[in-house]
Amino acid sequence: MTGVKNEALRYLGYRGNPPDEATAALIDKGYNELCDTVSPHYCHKITAKEEVASLLKGNDIAKHLEKSERVIFFAATLGSGADRLIRTAEITNMAYALVLDALASAMTEEFCDSAEQELKIRCGGHFTWRYSPGYGDYPIELQPDIIRFLNADKLIGLTATDSNILIPRKSVTAVIGVSEHEQDSGVRSCTTCNLRETCKFRRSGENCGN
């Protein structure tokens, strides 16, 4: 199984257990169908930290970028095809929809990882991990402003609803700190996470990081 498929199994709550035959078949089918459907795009801008102060509200993001001189604003999406595939499956086969949803989430992360690798080569320097609105006290209300700053609606077709949910659904916006010097890339930690009380991974003694 590829990384994406394994990651999807984790999202589905398998905790390292092998999938049963029926689910494994759905995962294979879903993976192939998603690969034919998704249209991943990303865009970014890199600037000095002072220039984007209005997009960096809250204590947690300040701490995250403490040692960074520059910041990368980043947005990525799988495109609306994945949403459509999941929506259709919800009509005919809910189990398949569930599997597709998990796979698409895993693909989004994988795509962000590979985009980040490209950015590392292109921008140089030392990166922090990707910090997204809604995490810690970094306000999710900044989504539309980040989209506008990145011109992400024109460049990759990303939008936000009135309640700041990204559309297409399988999308991410994030901030990465860049420093000329070694900096703590920071392990994502549960202590600042908003979901720590309810997280299904924590309940079973895991965490969502790798």
């Binding site: 999938p19 495109g79 929506r87 189990a95 939008t159 609803t161 559309i167 659904r169």
Partner: protein, 787 residues
């Protein structure tokens, strides 16, 4: 069209302006700032940019109104009307004393429309209406651009046509894969916008000129309107913001467009007055190529799928309540999923177009039609045929349809044509004409052809192109009028050959009252195709029917190398319903998620005289319980639990099909909703699947559901249990408000809540009766409340 624009389009070439945002940034605007505010804060810069484009040779300049809609201006102190009027007045001042025209520039709202996003089509229309009303007195034309969703540009174009007399130029933005971000095809854009009355169509933004040739070529094939190209100067550098294509290359790459017959040129992001003056110089030395007229190929489309009627195409007939008990019941119960399943089954069976008929005396046909059309286009990209006799139903459907539809139908009666053809024209649809009139169905082919000709001529008088008129020569039942079959076929041939129109035929009527109807149907279908039938309306789920069309396409050399045929039937071995092995019991099949077996075994039990409630109570529910227990003990995982639910669903469907409509099994009604502001509804849908398969009737209000709507539904359906879900911290407030409103209404019911961010404590704090950590918990609570 006004005289100014008419004169403009008489010119050999028309030159538009170039990038505006990038020009403002050169003058000091920061990325992320709202460029429409610059009409107030940097009026001189805005004026100067307009002047620079006029001096560079632009025949049309865009006022700085691209994002002047109420959504994008919400965080500013300005209203749409203020920005639009201010921007237009600056542009008018800049154009004073020149021949340059001023366009009201309209860009996307910034939110995605349903079903991909949450903005309703009607709301998008209203946002555009507001812009147009503010600008129509000042602008010379309306220019709609950078649209990536055909649905959104349709809303804008409709708003422009209904609220002004100004000419409208329409642009969409495409990606390298030949589609827009939302999947819109160039052909679908050209067909739909042309039909809706745009005055020019084209591409702008996103790509450089040398990346757009194929996209523009596809548009050209689907419209006779003037074509426009307004490309980007390549891509911006993420660090410096500089664009990658210079003026010289931009202009050189545009030469090829003159050879393709493109008439209107301009620039988008990253282009400057230098690019525009370069275009002017280049165009002055290139004679325009006159495009040939589009040949009379009929095409219909959804946003993402264009169907050219160049060989027989299947119209699936299953979305129709006539003679179908379960379908009628689904309509009465607002069970949209049932209808969507009917659609997806036909898609899988090879349908090219879906007929949609939801007429039932007991329901509001118009409201239902709109709901069904919107839901269908969320899950399939097959073009739709709107099947109704009521003009208001047809208009409501065409309005919200995202593409070019077919209207089924008009006939030779003058009054009918007078009512329906103007609607067909307004929305650019194709129309089916039945060869009957106030005197009934003529018995002779010649008379039917005469009616067909009358319909064609009348349609053309309304401005409907002849290729958009499809004729149905009417199938009569062979068992009552045996000789009439040949009259129908004769008429099909004549309409096709003599009138040159496409033909439609409902096929299934032919065999009424005869045994092995499929044999008669498929033989008649093959005869009709050979006579020139283009659009058989059939049940594609019957392989003998859809297979006849696939086979015909091979035999008539449309399906090259039989590729499509082999793709569909190549793996086919004689398909028999597999009889489950003896050891597979119904309980086992449900527990293991074997839906086909579950269905088959249920049917066997029913045929053997088993009581349906016994099956549900003694087999289905205990099996689901066991799966639920295993899930609770981590022996199985969520997908397996849902597979069990799917198998239970198949069992239920078999039971329902065997029962009369009035005698439905229901253990009680439950209202489910994902709260206002939240659109993460997969969890809610899982809960729904499970509840339904325990025999509860779920009234699913969907996602992003306003508080009051939940209360209204709870009262209207007198439910004793309401389930609410939320996945985001920011939408928990809406959940709390919904519960509060429910309590205030005095309606006596329990509330169960769930979703990733909820906890028991929070559920208690907002006054819920139960916190369900997963779908299984919800079922357990439902059992407690409803039994």
């Amino acid at each position: 069209m006004n005289d100014k624009v008419k004169k403009l389009l008489e010119k050999e070439y028309v030159i538009l302006d170039g990038g505006f945002g990038t020009e403002l940034q050169k003058r000091g605007m920061k990325p992320g700032e709202t460029s429409e505010i610059m009409n107030f804060q940097r009026e001189d810069d805005v004026y100067a940019i307009h002047r620079s484009y006029i001096e560079a040779g632009a025949d049309v300049i865009n006022a700085n109104t691209f994002g002047a809609n109420r959504l994008k201006l919400a965080k500013t102190q300005y209203s749409t009307a203020e920005v639009v009027r201010k921007a237009l007045s600056i542009a008018k001042r800049a154009a004073e004393g020149t021949d340059t025209l001023v366009a009201l520039d309209i860009g996307p709202t910034g939110q995605l429309l349903e079903p991909a996003g949450t903005l309703a089509f009607e709301d998008a229309y209203d946002i555009f209406r507001e812009i147009i009303e503010a600008g129509r007195e000042l602008a010379d034309l309306i220019l709609i651009e950078t649209m990536t969703d055909l649905y959104e540009i349709k809303a804008a174009l409709l708003a422009a046509k209904e609220n002004s007399d100004l000419p409208v130029f329409t642009f969409m933005s495409f990606e390298k894969n030949g589609r827009t971000f939302t999947g819109t095809l160039p052909s679908a854009a050209a067909l739909t916008l042309t039909g809706m009355g745009a005055d020019a169509v084209g591409v702008n933004c996103s790509l450089a000129p040398d990346e757009l040739y194929n996209i523009v070529a596809e548009m050209i094939r689907y419209t006779d309107l003037p074509i426009m190209v307004k490309a980007n100067a390549g891509l911006p550098d993420p660090a410096t913001g500089a664009y990658s294509v210079d003026a010289e290359k931009y202009v050189n790459d545009c030469i090829k467009y003159t050879e393709m017959g493109v008439k209107i040129f301009g620039g988008c992001c990253g282009t400057s007055p230098e690019y525009i003056s370069g275009l002017k110089t280049m165009l002055s030395s290139h004679t325009p190529v006159v495009r040939g007229k589009r040949e009379g190929i009929a095409s219909v489309c959804s946003y993402a799928n264009t169907v050219d009627i160049t060989c027989p195409k299947i119209i699936g007939e299953r979305i129709n309540p006539t003679g179908k008990k379960l379908f009628k019941e689904a309509l009465k119960n607002n069970d949209i999923n049932y209808i969507l399943n009917q659609a997806l089954e036909q898609v899988a069976a090879g349908a090219d177009i879906l007929d949609v008929n939801v007429g039932l005396p007991e329901i509001d046909e118009k409201e239902m039609m709109v709901r069904v059309v919107k839901a269908l286009q969320g899950i399939t990209d097959l073009p739709l045929q709107i099947d109704s006799t009521k003009p208001d139903v047809i208009e409501a459907a065409l309005r919200v349809y995202n593409g070019k539809a077919i209207v089924n139908s008009v006939n030779g009666e003058a009054a009918v044509m007078e009512r329906i053809l103007p609607i067909v024209k307004k929305y650019g649809a194709a129309v089916v004409g039945l060869t009957l009139d106030e005197n009934g169905i003529p018995s002779k082919a010649e008379q039917r052809v005469a009616i067909a000709e009358r319909i064609m001529k009348t349609a053309m008088e309304y401005g409907i192109p002849r290729e958009n008129v499809f004729i149905d020569c009417l199938t009569l039942t062979v068992s009552t009028e045996q000789k009439a079959v040949y009259e129908t076929l004769k008429a099909v041939r004549a309409v096709k050959q003599d009138l040159g129109l496409h033909t439609v035929l409902g096929v299934s009527n032919i065999s009424f009252g005869l045994p092995t109807r499929e044999l008669i149907n498929s033989t008649f279908l093959s005869m009709a195709m050979e006579c020139g039938l283009d659009l058989p309306i059939i049940n594609p789920n019957i392989t003998a029917m859809s297979g006849a069309v696939f086979a015909y396409r091979v035999l008539a050399a449309h399906d090259e190398n039989a590729a499509k045929f082999i793709e569909r039937f190549g793996g086919e071995t004689a398909k028999k319903p597999t009889v489950p092995k003896a050891e597979v019991t119904l309980s086992y099949a449900i527990e293991k998620g074997l839906d086909k077996d579950a269905e088959m075994l249920t049917k066997q039990k029913l045929e053997a005289g088993a009581d349906s409630m016994d099956i549900v109570n003694n087999e289905l529910i205990p099996a689901l319980d066991r799966a639920g227990d295993d899930f609770g003990k981590n022996k199985i995982f969520l997908p397996q639990l849902i597979l069990s639910a799917n198998a239970a669903q198949a069992c239920f469907a078999a039971i329902k099909a065997a029962m009369s409509g009035e005698n439905r099994i229901s253990k009680g009604k439950i209202v489910l909703a994902t709260v206002k502001g939240d659109i993460h509804d997969i969890g809610k849908n899982i809960v729904k699947t499970l509840l339904e398969n325990y025999g509860y009737t779920v009234i699913d209000l969907g996602k992003d559901v306003p508080e009051q709507k939940v209360v209204d539904a709870a009262i209207e359906h007198d439910v004793k249990l309401v389930g609410l879900s939320a996945l985001m911290t920011t939408t928990l407030g809406a959940m709390e408000r919904t519960i509060k409103l429910l309590r205030e209404s005095g309606h006596d019911c329990k509330v169960v809540v769930g979703g990733a961010v909820l906890t028991q404590d929070y559920a208690d704090a907002i006054g819920a009766d139960c916190y369900a950590k997963d779908a299984k918990d919800t079922v357990d609570f439902a059992k407690k409340v409803l039994g």
